[in-house]
């Protein structure tokens, strides 16, 4: 055994966990090496400093309180634990899935309905406002002037009317705010509704 080797087994020597053979080998080296003796003596003295420290013992009152509080914590934990139903893996998944599906269906329906309602409202408002009654006047004048037209010409009226309304919507000068921001597709839908009303 040399100093280097001793350092590798010093922890086990201090812990008294060396085999008898190795222990003897360490002790033989210590007999001849003052540096290792010093090292070991310092480590042993360090450990010896810890020995007189007493254990903090809980008083009997503290021991009773300690146990009572543990019981309380366990009870609280049992109360907080969620109730378990037979199909416990299904219910937690089923309820949110159904709720989300219902909300989605409701939103889609609402959107379709509100879109239709919105177009109807816009169309009604356009024709109700005096400043915006150009389309209505145009239609009346046009119909008066062409009172003899037959069914085949109606598509022609419709297309003229559509264009007139599109121009009108594009100008945006006197349109209410609610028409603003409509996409081309929405404008086309609006025109369709107005046509239906006419």
């Amino acid at each position: 055994m040399n100093c280097q080797k001793l350092k590798t087994v010093l922890a086990e020597y201090l812990l008294d966990e060396l085999s008898d053979k190795l222990k003897r080998s360490v002790e033989n080296h210590l007999l001849t090496c003052s540096a290792c003796q010093k090292e070991l003596a310092e480590l042993k003295k360090t450990l010896a400093l810890f020995e007189p420290l007493p254990e903090n013992k809980l008083t009997p009152e503290q021991q009773t309180r300690f146990l009572t509080e543990i019981h309380q914590k366990i009870r609280r934990q049992v109360q907080l634990r969620p109730k378990r139903y037979p199909a416990r893996w299904l219910l937690p998944r089923l309820v949110p899935t159904l709720a989300i599906a219902t909300i989605l269906i409701w939103l889609v329906t609402l959107r379709i309905r509100s879109k239709e309602d919105n177009y109807t409202k816009i169309a009604t408002e356009i024709f109700a406002m005096p400043t915006l009654s150009l389309s209505g006047e145009f239609v009346v004048d046009y119909l008066k002037a062409n009172s003899t037209m037959d069914k085949g010409d109606f598509s022609q009226i419709s297309s003229v009317l559509t264009k007139e309304i599109e121009d009108y919507l594009d100008s945006r000068l006197e349109l209410p705010d609610l028409v603003e921001g409509l996409t081309q597709e929405e404008k086309a839908e609006l025109v369709r509704v107005i046509n239906t009303m006419l």
Binding site: A11, E42, T46, L47, P52, N56, F66, L67, I70
Partner: protein
């Protein structure tokens, strides 16, 4: 150990009072371990209780692969290590003052000089142990105060025996440096008594 196994068996068969027996048997040891790990009596109190609550929850599944106290120490050490880690992260370490720590230890009935010296030594020791890294401190405390063997400590810490030895050796080396004046004093006293 057989007594513990017997209590656990009875607990598993529905006798809840056996759990109380286990708490009574180990509460001092667990509280002390927690206290030495976190250096705060309130935190140690909570951590020791949480250790037993966790043990209560897991006791029905306890497989007896290790002894009950090794298992209990493992729960406690892990809780303390996590606690210290959280505290370090949040940087709100609020340790008790060293004088409070001394107050917690049973005062020895000695002469005023001896008491003063003992007090100073306790301050130095507490401060030195506090400065050890968490795992080194855990290994050192389990060995020094609980007298556990390397194999048991390795099971508690969930690491190899080699790692435990390394932690222990580094801890002792560091403590020697931190307590140098006390160590030298003891050595010179020893020399004088021989001379």
């Amino acid at each position: 150990m057989d007594e513990d196994l017997n209590l656990i068996r009875r607990f598993k068969n529905g006798d809840e009072t056996c759990f109380d027996e286990l708490v009574k048997k180990y509460q001092n040891k667990i509280y002390n371990l927690a206290y030495r790990m976190v250096h705060n009596s309130e935190d140690a109190w909570d951590l020791a209780q949480e250790t037993f609550v966790q043990a209560y929850n897991g006791l029905s599944k306890f497989k007896q692969k290790s002894t009950f106290y090794t298992w209990l120490y493992r729960i406690c050490v892990n809780r303390c290590l996590n606690f210290n880690q959280r505290k370090t992260r949040s940087r709100t370490i609020n340790n008790e003052t060293i004088s409070e720590v001394i107050l917690m230890n049973t005062p020895a009935r000695n002469t005023p000089e001896t008491d003063f010296r003992q007090g100073e030594l306790k301050i130095a020791i507490t401060s030195a142990v506090k400065q050890l890294p968490d795992k080194q401190r855990a290994v050192f405390l389990l060995r020094q105060y609980e007298g556990l063997r390397i194999g048991e400590i390795a099971k508690i810490m969930g690491c190899s025996k080699g790692t435990v030895k390394a932690h222990y050796f580094h801890a002792v080396q560091k403590l020697r440096e931190l307590l140098k004046p006390w160590v030298e004093n003891e050595l010179s006293k020893a020399k004088n008594s021989i001379g």
